[in-house]
Structure formats: structure tokens, C-alpha cells
Subunit: 232 residues, 2 copies
DNA sequence: CGACTTCTTGAGGATATTCAAGAATAGTGG
DNA sequence: CCACTATTCTTGAATATCCTCAAGAAGTCG
């Protein structure tokens, strides 16, 4: 069983707030939920239950219904990420969360977090960092969407997945092409074409779900705006 | 002079924290800065000074340098908005802030805010709402950027400006076409074309800086994805 | 009033989408 | 374990959309 020092919650769970002999997992008395691939953590229009969720393992997609009926992916979230921050002051959820793989998820009552912030000196600072990091992530996503070229967006997406994997040379794509397309503001056809173009050049190697970037440097240049013909 | 109850800071400045006889403006001891149109509040790569800013009047744009050299607009901020949240745990600013019109801006030391959060019970909740609202705003922007059609994005932009104006029928466009383009991921030519197309149909009426939407219903349909030819 | 910038509008070319069909994969039940 | 079905992925050709380049109009500021 995991202990406090690798618990993602330890950002807010420092020093005196972590009772050593409390039995390992219960440092913030979170309950643990298991989700199978395809199951929902919550749906759009669900009533907000005032729980915050932290992903211990697995991948989740956060989505919204676009005005045109299509699905818009807000974010892909992996191990260590917080889910539910976007609905703190809402009564109804305006986003849904689905498991892309089997997941293990810890849930904390929002009220408990608030109490902790009011009680523990350094936690407010940690919360500020959380806010700042969240904003930075959304700004990065927006920058991706503003890139004019399709390959450019796909390249940036691959690099972001890789960076998220703690500097490993290997990352996963647990989501469908349609999901990637909805995330990048493209169509699944175009995503496919871009991936094929990178593979054909030998810059991208893909297995079932995992990929590596043998041509990392080239992919970075494409992400920076270097032109690349889709057929060739 | 404004008093506490219309001060944007009163979100975090409640009850006992607001000394009544403190002389009006100094409830959180913020200093006030005046900016002329075009002046910077801070620039990219500036050292973070650990102040948070709140816009009392005027409009500001928050921008970033894109990898391709072009300017990317992160957000347009109006009266009541907070500036600087995105740099709380950074040493260098990764975004710049410029006044689009003459501005009046209140600044609060970040440390004072943190102290307030640690001291005052209900302020943590208020901070949570701030976080939630900020995330929601970025998600809305992302949804705009994912819209495939250019008119659709422009229509959504106009509606968002209108909604931000507290339900008034009239809103302003203090930024240049190039700024709008950089915000929506388009070119200034295309923005111009889209605005002209809406004007030609009588759905949009524009003065120098202000606009109204006589065809509000139609514009909403365009924002929802209804097709619209740019020439016609 | 004149110089400057910003905005509008045009025509041509590049790029992503649409529509569609075949290939690969995943999931199910025998 | 294999066959069968359903879904997802890939790829092609044609169309629509947006961008580039450019010049004229309108607005801004001294």
C-alpha cells in the first residue's frame, strides 16, 4: 500500500497534519474508488457532491458538450492530477469525467480541504501554487489551439504527453483519435494523417498504446512551426 | 472615492478584516496605479514582484510570445478582474500585461493575501471560487478556439464580450483586430471579414469602439455552428 | 492638415474538412 | 483458441475554408 510520501495529496498534507500511525492511506481520510475503462467519475449536469478527486493511477478525460453537439475535450488527466476543481462553486457539473483506462481514484471532501486551508499555515501557499499551475496548463492548451497548422498541434500534443511522463522516453495515448481531435480542434482524419506523416519519416514510433519519438529534435521543430507536408 | 462595497477586493475582504474608519480606500492597504493606454503593467521575463493587481477601471490584455514569433493573447481583462494569478509560483513572468485604455489598478501584496487566507475563515472558500471561476473562463476560451469555423469564433467572442458587460445591450472592443485575431487563432483579415459579414446582415452594429447586436438571436445561432457565407 | 497606423476588401493558393471505402483492432461468444 | 461482429483507424479524392499578399480606405495623432 502507498504511504503518505507518494500520495499526491501530500501537497496539502504536510508535517503535523499527517498522523504517522494513522494506518497509511487515511492521512486525509480519503475514500478510494476504482473505475473500469469507460466508466464515469461524474457526468455533465450531475449535482456537485463537493468531493475533490485525485488520480492515483490510470487516465481520465474531462469533456464538455460543444454547442454544435460535438464533444469537446477539456483535458486529459493522469496520475497525480486533481479532478473537480472546475466545479467548486457550481451546483451542477458543466463537465463530465470518464476513465480511459482502469483507474484508482482518491476522493476528499471539499469541506475538509477548506478546513485544512483555514487551519494550516503553509497550505494556502500550496493552494496558490495549485491555482497557478492549473492556469499555466490551460494557457498551454490555448497556445496549442492557436497554432495554425495541424501537424504543429499534433507535434505539440505528443511532446506534452512526453513531458507529462516525467521525462521518460516513452508515453501513452490511451485516448481515441476522435478524442485527440476534439482536444486539438481538428478531425480524426487529420490527426491520423499527421501521425502517419510523422511515422513515415521515422520520427514517431507507435505500438498499441505507447509511443516514442526517435526524431525528437525534428518533432520539436515541427511543433515550433517548421512546415511539413502531410503527403510525402 | 470608491468605498469597500464596490471594491473588487471585497471578495476577500469581509467583515472584521475591513476596518471601517481606515480612510476608505485602504481596506487592504492596496496602492493604486494609473496606466495610460499602451503602458505595461508588467512585461514578459520581468521578475515577479509578488503583487496581485485588481482592475478598477479600464481594459488590459494579457499576452504571450508564441513560438513562431507572433503574439498570443491569453485573455482580455476588464474592471473587477484579477491580474497576476498566473505567476504566483513563478520567478519570471511568462506573460505580459498592457493597458488597452487608460486604467486604474489596485495592487495587493501576495503575502498579505496569503496571511488573510490563513487568518480569516471564510476567505479560503472565496479563494476556491476564484480558482473555479478562473478555470471556467479558460475552458470557455478553449471551447472558442476549438470551433472550426471563423465566423463561429467571432460570434462567440462578441457574445462573450456582451455577457461580460453585466447583461448590458452594449459592449466595447478596446483591442485591435490583430489582438482579436491573436486571441481567436485567426488573422486580422479574417476577423474583419467576419465582422463585415455580420454587419452586412444587420446583425451587428458598430461604432468607434462600442457595438450592439440587433440580431442577437441570429448571432447566437452562428455561434452555435449555423453556417454563414463570408461573402453575400 | 499631413503622416502614420489600422482597417477593409480582393484574388489566388495552400490546407483542413467532408464523404466514403477498405484495413486494422477490440470485444464477444462459441 | 478461433471465428464473427462492431468499432476504430487509415487513406483517397473533391470541396470549402482560411491564409497570404497586396492595395486602397478609414481612422488617429501630432
Amino acid at each position: 500500500m502507498r504511504r503518505c510520501h507518494d500520495c499526491p495529496l501530500n501537497l496539502l498534507c504536510q508535517d503535523d497534519a499527517a498522523p504517522a500511525g494513522d494506518g497509511g492511506d487515511a492521512c486525509l481520510r480519503q475514500r478510494c474508488v476504482h473505475l473500469r475503462s469507460g466508466e464515469h467519475l461524474f457526468r455533465v449536469s450531475d449535482e456537485v457532491d463537493h468531493y475533490l478527486h485525485i488520480i492515483r493511477s490510470g487516465d481520465i478525460k474531462l469533456y464538455q458538450h460543444g454547442r454544435d453537439g460535438g464533444q469537446h475535450i477539456i483535458e486529459f488527466l493522469g496520475a497525480g492530477a486533481w479532478v473537480g476543481l472546475e466545479s467548486l462553486d457550481e451546483h451542477q457539473r458543466h463537465a463530465g469525467a470518464v476513465a480511459l483506462t482502469d483507474c484508482e481514484i482518491a476522493s476528499v471532501p471539499y469541506a475538509m480541504l477548506i478546513a485544512l486551508l483555514d487551519r494550516q499555515p503553509r497550505s494556502a501557499e500550496a493552494f496558490g501554487q495549485l491555482l497557478s499551475a492549473t492556469i499555466a496548463r490551460h494557457q498551454q492548451h490555448a497556445a496549442m489551439l492557436r497554432s495554425t497548422s495541424a501537424v504543429q498541434r499534433v507535434a505539440q500534443f505528443l511532446l506534452a504527453r512526453l513531458a507529462q511522463a516525467h521525462g521518460m522516453a516513452r508515453a501513452t495515448l490511451p485516448m481515441s483519435r476522435q478524442d485527440i481531435a476534439d482536444y486539438l480542434g481538428l478531425t480524426s482524419s487529420t490527426v491520423s494523417r499527421c501521425l502517419s506523416a510523422l511515422r513515415r519519416r521515422g520520427w514517431l514510433a507507435m505500438g498499441q498504446r505507447a509511443f516514442t519519438l526517435p526524431g525528437l529534435h525534428n518533432v520539436e521543430q515541427v511543433a515550433a512551426g517548421a512546415p511539413l507536408a502531410l503527403d510525402g
